[in-house]
């Protein structure tokens, strides 16, 4: 098998295993990454929401925030895991398209 095929299989396996990155933190009761709290968590931590942070934090509303579909927050780990896999696959599809386009723009064809 060509090495590039093996790498793609590896990437596909990682996409399917990605929900581990959701399930393990839940199981071990680990919260957000340090410095990546939402405004509410920030208020709990320091007692207020810094003004600049409050303004800037709502600047961009991502279509699939935190790799979960909007309104699925309360649906439980199985739904979230499904959304996580779809997010991983979608993200990688876009990334591959962008890199191939960049490659077309950047890289000259080799002479045969």
């Amino acid at each position: 098998m060509k090495i590039i095929t093996k790498f793609w299989i590896g990437i596909a396996a990682l996409i399917l295993l990605a929900p581990l990155g959701l399930i393990l933190p839940e199981y071990f009761k680990a919260g957000s990454a340090w410095g990546e709290w939402g405004a509410d968590e920030m208020k709990e931590l320091v007692g207020y929401i810094p003004q600049g942070l409050e303004k800037l934090s709502s600047l961009w509303s991502a279509p699939i925030p935190d790799y979960a579909f909007k309104g699925w927050g309360e649906k439980g780990l199985a739904h979230l895991s499904f959304a996580y896999i779809v997010s991983a696959a979608l993200g990688i599809l876009l990334i591959v398209l962008i890199v191939l386009l960049l490659g077309k723009a950047l890289v000259r064809k080799e002479k045969k």
Binding site: I4, K6, F7, W8, G10, I11, L14, I15, L17, A18, G21, L24, P25, Y27, F28, K29, A30, G31, S32, A33, W34, G35, E36, M42, V46, P50, Q51, G52, L53, E54, L56, S57, L59, W60, S61, A62, P63, I64, P65, D66, Y67, Y84, S87, A88, L90, G91, I92, L94, I95, V96, I98, V99, L100, L102, G103, L106, V107, R108, K109, E110
Partner: protein
């Protein structure tokens, strides 16, 4: 390590965009010169790998989470300039589509994870594996150490960027405007958790894949 919107003030965000623009331009020029058309799929795999490995949040029980970046492996495989482009693409998609990392912080996040991390990792790997024969264990260990140190350098930088915010921006009453934690908290926390836990994840991922490529593909 993905700094969200609102944690860095406009000055810091601007500086890092200004620093990254020439780096991105230079990376494009160098990749244009060195990357061959048949290597483009590998570049896509590198970006995809970095993107998905960052989704594997590793918990510190009862505490926070963190993750590897995979950028040192991409740098060892493709060189640091190509890695810079690959990781930048991953970080931009994470910010725009998934809100993982802020729009205003793309410059800073790319500086930490798409520039400093792959370059530090690449040169540490090159230094330790210098003159090591193909297939030797020293190359595997070099890859692991490079992953560990480079992730920690990036984490330390992130902590520093968080930590200088209270010095730069405060209201008249003394409240922080952006990240409220100073260097005395942000730096030791960011460094500590990566030194103790997450750095090892980057080390193991980098070392294992190099080992695999030695064994099955006669690389390295």
């Amino acid at each position: 390590m993905h700094i969200p919107d609102g944690y860095l003030g406009p000055a810091t965000c601007g500086v890092f965009y200004a620093v990254m623009l020439p780096i991105w331009a230079l990376a494009s020029r160098i990749v244009k010169k060195t990357l061959k058309a048949r290597q483009v799929p590998m570049l896509a795999i590198g970006a995809a790998f970095s993107f998905v490995i960052m989704m594997f949040n590793v918990p510190i029980p009862g505490g926070t989470t963190g993750h590897a970046v995979g950028g040192v492996l991409v740098a060892i495989l493709l060189g640091p300039w190509a890695a810079c482009i690959a990781i930048t693409v991953a970080l931009v998609i994470q910010a725009l589509l998934f809100g993982d990392g802020g729009i205003t912080a793309i410059g800073a996040n790319c500086f930490n994870m798409a520039f400093v991390l792959p370059f530090a990792g690449y040169y540490i790997y090159k230094a330790i594996s210098y003159n090591a024969p193909r297939g030797s264990n020293r190359r595997v260990i070099a890859a692991g150490i490079a992953g560990y140190i480079a992730l920690n350098i990036a984490a330390g930088l992130t902590g520093f960027e968080f930590g200088i915010q209270p010095l730069l921006h405060k209201t008249a009453s003394g409240q922080a405007l952006y990240c409220p934690y100073g260097l005395n908290v942000a730096l030791p926390v960011m460094l500590g958790e990566h030194l103790i836990v997450f750095g090892w994840v980057e080390a193991i991922v980098t070392g294992l894949v190099v080992k695999y490529l030695q064994k099955h593909e006669n690389y390295y």
